[in-house]
């Protein structure tokens, strides 16, 4: 079966008729509900929370967030971002409670630092691996998304993103971008190897930027995406003012939500004195 991601950009794929077909299919409704409930289980929210739904579509997940029982820490409120006006239109008709925004997550997450308790994303972020024009790259879009997501979550906030990578390369590209943004990350796979296999990227904003892979280590079947090699490299002495030092600082600033200049071949170069 061909992947819609490889054929059209998301806002064109999810047009009026596809959005309606998608939302009214009881098979899809069931699968999306199952995955949303699984994501909620992984988020372990203990009190009514403010949640960001990334690629919220017609609000199938949001509906579940709004109806979590008080005994289970709900109900939550949510803000959904989606790039398809048609999907959002169907959401409106279904009278959901969350706030909706027409937005491209590859352009970032326009909320101030520490806004959300948690984020959820069901079957959406693999779309970021396909950049549809030549003035944008998928790596740039992934990094804008994960940097923005990281900054928009409160300390200790978690995000669970179920996604459908096309292959191993996309899987690593996505989890790598999340780790680079500063998240402690793990990948959980339900029913691995079957055609119903589901991947969940479980992310946490750590308290001190230390080794936070422990968040997901305790869970069954979680494959911790290890950032330790990076740490080992960090152990090497990096000279203050060197290119590596500057790149490190820039990454650190970006994680804090600061604006930094894009890296170029000139980054960290000694400038000649000219008159």
């Amino acid at each position: 079966m061909s992947r819609p991601e490889d054929t059209l950009p998301p806002d064109l794929h999810y047009n009026d008729s596809e959005a309606k077909k998608y939302t009214t299919s009881s098979r899809i409704q069931n699968i999306q509900a199952q995955m949303t409930n699984r994501a909620l289980e992984l988020l372990k929210l203990k009190e009514p929370s403010l949640i960001l739904d990334v690629g919220c579509g017609s609000g199938l997940s949001g509906e579940i967030l709004s109806s979590v029982d008080p005994q289970e820490g709900g109900p939550h409120i949510w803000v959904g971002m989606d790039i398809s006006a048609s999907m959002l239109d169907v959401a409106l008709q279904r009278d959901i409670e969350g706030d909706l925004m027409l937005a491209d997550i590859g352009q970032g997450v326009p909320f101030r630092a520490g806004s959300f308790d948690a984020a959820i994303s069901i079957s959406a972020i693999q779309w970021l691996c396909n950049a549809d024009s030549n003035d944008v790259s998928s790596t740039g879009r992934l990094s804008r998304f994960f940097n923005g997501l990281y900054a928009s979550l409160k300390r200790g906030g978690k995000a669970v993103c179920q996604f459908y990578p096309k292959n191993e390369q996309q899987r690593t590209m996505i989890s790598g971008a999340a780790i680079k943004a500063g998240f402690g990350a793990g990948i959980l796979e339900d029913d691995p190897g079957t055609k119903n296999g589901k991947l969940y990227l479980v992310l946490e904003v750590g308290g001190d930027g230390g080794d936070i892979t422990g968040v997901v280590k305790g869970l069954d079947g979680v494959d911790v995406v290890d950032a330790r090699r990076k740490h080992a490299e960090k152990g090497r002495k990096i000279h203050k003012g060197s290119k590596a030092w500057i790149m490190g600082k820039k990454e650190q600033m970006e994680r804090k939500g600061k604006v930094v200049k894009n890296n170029s071949k000139y980054t960290g170069r000694k400038r000649k004195i000219t008159f």
Binding site: P48, S49, P75, I77, P110, R112, V136
Partner: protein, 127 residues
Amino acid sequence: MKVLTLNFLTCAVKACKSTSTSFPLHPKDCEMVSDTIEPNPKLLYNILPRVNWTALLTTVAELGFPELPPNPPTIEELQADEKMTQELHTLLLETQISEGCLVCGNCGHAYAIKEGIANFLLPNHLV
């Protein structure tokens, strides 16, 4: 869009991220609606510490709503004050912008809101 959400939104333009004038976005020509939402005091207690009160005062003034106290209530005060809880619930969650736009105080970009949905799509060179 809820007044609460407006309190968290910033301008999406890259050059505006480091400026303080890009928050809060300023509602312009807005039509408001009110939606009944089940009171959820625990949610209020959870999010109130994260609400930027100064920005909220600005928003309330710009929308022409009755003035709020200059400082946010503490959780204890809120727990003891049913009327205040109800008022904040109404303002933050039930009061919503249905039409109009949100304008950035730094770059002047206007994000249109239609049927409650804000359009944050930008040309690629701005992000």
